[in-house]
């Protein structure tokens, strides 16, 4: 849903799996089952069961109005694959991903490099860059929607003050289909880059100082050290960040729902948003379930790729 919610510790699954494959000697009894059972019961009820239920609904004409349900085979699926609005929503999701991922990687690296050098201000800087991340999405969108106000909003005010924008041709930001997605992306970057920044900062600080000392003895300046040592050593973190970003972007919804309601002219209507509209505004649970499953499979593919990459790295 948001770019952030899921605490992205999926990588730990890889370690966990290794451990499961090599069980140590433990007492074999039913006692362990009792400890696992409460979680497993909740897991089956609130994760496995909805997954099955959603698949079943996708083959029915189930409606939110509660009229009798009948099996309609692959009709929903056929409709979904021929639904231009669904493809547009997926395309908008892809556009959001393409716009948001590069700044969320590059700005995070720049901030981390800066904070790593400015150690004396570390606490303040970490707070400034990470604090937006803990804010509820609606607080973020309320503030930004107001800053984006075309007439008298803070963003246009300063753009005009700097002479970048002429007062006669004020940018409409959220009301213009050419800028709406960009505006949502900028807000998202401000909101969530702090998380990636902390990942990079930790990675940079875990690099052994001896590596730099050796490079300095060889006469490498800071620019050469950056490109020769730091950035190559951040490759693994970048891989993690990109995959997490990809999964989070496929689930994007909140910002668009709040800032543009998918508009103008559906320019920011993303996948989850269309599912929401089909299900809760169009009352078509069956059809929305089929749409959900298409998205589900896409996210699953990305997750499996991620899982493979990171479990290989752990070996």
């Amino acid at each position: 849903m948001t770019v952030k919610t899921e605490t992205p510790d999926e990588a730990s699954a890889a370690t966990a799996r290794q451990e499961a494959l090599a069980p140590q000697k433990k007492p074999r009894s039913l006692a362990g089952l009792w400890f696992v059972l409460p979680f497993f019961a909740a897991y089956v009820l609130f994760l496995v069961w909805p997954t099955i239920l959603g698949l079943y609904y996708s083959f029915t004409d189930k409606s939110l109005t509660g009229r009798p349900v009948s099996w309609i085979g692959l009709d929903n699926w056929a409709e979904a694959f021929g639904d231009q609005r669904a493809w547009d929503a997926l395309w908008n999701t892809a556009v959001f991903t393409l716009y948001s991922t590069p700044p969320l990687v590059i700005i995070a690296i720049i901030l981390a490099l800066l904070v790593n050098r400015a150690r004396k201000m570390g606490w303040f800087l970490r707070m400034a860059f990470f604090a937006p991340f803990v804010l509820p999405v609606s607080v973020v969108t309320m503030i930004w929607m107001w800053m984006y106000q075309p007439d008298g909003g803070l963003v246009n005010h300063y753009l005009q003050l700097l002479g970048i924008q002429s007062p006669e041709a004020a940018t409409l930001w959220l009301q213009d289909e050419n800028t709406a997605m960009m505006a949502v992306v900028m807000t998202t970057v401000w909101w969530t880059v702090g998380f990636n920044f902390l990942l990079y900062l930790a990675a940079i600080q875990s690099i052994q100082p001896e590596v730099y000392e050796a490079a300095a003895i060889d006469g490498a300046n800071w620019w050469q050290q950056l490109w020769g040592i730091t950035l190559p050593l951040l490759k693994k973190t970048t891989g993690l960040v990109i995959v997490l970003q990809l999964i989070a972007s496929l689930r994007i919804f909140d910002q668009m729902y709040l800032m543009t309601a998918g508009g103008p002219n559906r320019a920011t209507e993303v996948a989850i948003h269309y599912i929401y509209i089909a299900g809760f505004e169009g009352f078509r649970i069956g059809y929305a379930s089929a749409l959900s499953y298409v998205l589900f499979v896409l996210i699953l593919i990305v997750s499996i790729v991620q899982f493979r990459i990171f479990s290989r790295e752990e070996d």
């Binding site: 952030k4 409460p38 800066l114 201000m121 503030i143 008298g152």
Partner: protein, 295 residues
């Protein structure tokens, strides 16, 4: 911060230049500290602007008024209106209740399960464990439709349990805790077993005290995640009196329209709880995020 104060003045640069080695560094350091400060202030602009506006009169906050960072007439009207309306307190209370239920239940279920997986062998253990691994890849957002139906069928819509329970299943937390438990030496437990302690006693008085920091991290992240969850409460709470803070702010307070002092006051109130949580637990949160990438 001291370096920051010195940085922009040329004299301090010269003073440093007298010391041969540090002088060379300080040129780069000045650039680093100045640009870091500028960027940090730039990053704080939206928050500071919201804060500034929330203390203005509606008249001074409206569009078309000159941009003033320090309000001319300080006013608490924006906040006063909100407290008279009372919605924010309800939403905040709802969010607190829901997030607390989610956090406590997640911790209980995940600690028990992690202990079970870490210390015991039982029939179908690997099958159960593998199925939970698979659950990591299931995106909750794609399940909102059947989840809504399920919660309705359980007669839980517009209740705290309906809001909380679907958020409780967190396979990833089981893994984090299990990995930590795996690293705790068995010696203590063996000694306790000889003294006749049962499994629960061992978990409660040996494992859990040792796992304090990791449990705190799991708890904090679960709480923040649940507090900021938007999509599920949007669907599950249609009754305004059951809305959580993010949903109430987004749907009801978003409609305050042109009353910007009031809107920004509600944004500030909405930001406060988690900012306070963040400031209190900053170290743990930063370490927790860092841990994601450093395995």
């Amino acid at each position: 911060m001291t370096a920051l104060k010195e940085a922009p003045t040329p004299e301090s640069g010269e003073k440093r230049a007298l010391k041969p080695r540090r002088g060379r560094l300080s040129v780069g350091a000045v650039i680093v500290y100045v640009s870091a400060t500028v960027l940090a202030l730039f990053w704080l602009v939206p928050l500071l602007w919201a804060l500034s506006t929330s203390f203005k009169t509606e008249q001074a906050a409206s569009l078309g008024q000159p941009i003033r960072w320090i309000p001319e007439d300080w006013s608490l009207d924006g906040y006063k209106v909100l407290f008279e309306r009372g919605e924010h307190l309800t939403w905040m209370l709802n969010s607190t209740i829901v997030s607390t239920i989610v956090t406590v239940l997640t911790l209980i279920l995940c600690v028990l399960a992690a202990y079970g997986f870490s210390r015991f062998d039982f029939p179908y253990k690997n099958v159960i464990f593998a199925s939970i691994i698979a659950g990591l890849m299931v995106p909750g957002q794609a399940l909102i439709i059947p989840m809504f139906d399920l919660v309705n069928a359980l007669h839980l819509s517009n209740t705290y349990w309906g809001l909380a329970l679907p958020q409780v299943v967190a396979p990833v937390m089981v893994f984090i805790l299990k990995r930590f438990f795996d690293g705790i030496p068995r010696d203590y437990e063996e000694a306790a077993k000889i003294d006749g302690a049962g499994h629960f006693r061992i978990l409660w008085s040996i494992i859990i005290p040792l796992a304090g920091p990791i449990m705190a991290a799991v708890g904090i992240f679960t709480f923040i995640g649940s507090w900021n969850n938007f999509l599920w409460p949007l669907i599950a709470a249609t009754d305004p009196s059951m809305m959580t803070l993010p949903v109430g702010l987004g749907t009801v307070a978003g409609g305050y329209g042109l009353f910007y002092a009031q809107t920004m006051a509600s944004a500030v109130l909405g930001a406060l709880p988690l900012l306070i949580v963040f400031l209190i637990f900053q170290k743990r949160i930063v370490e927790g995020v860092a841990g994601v990438g450093l395995k």
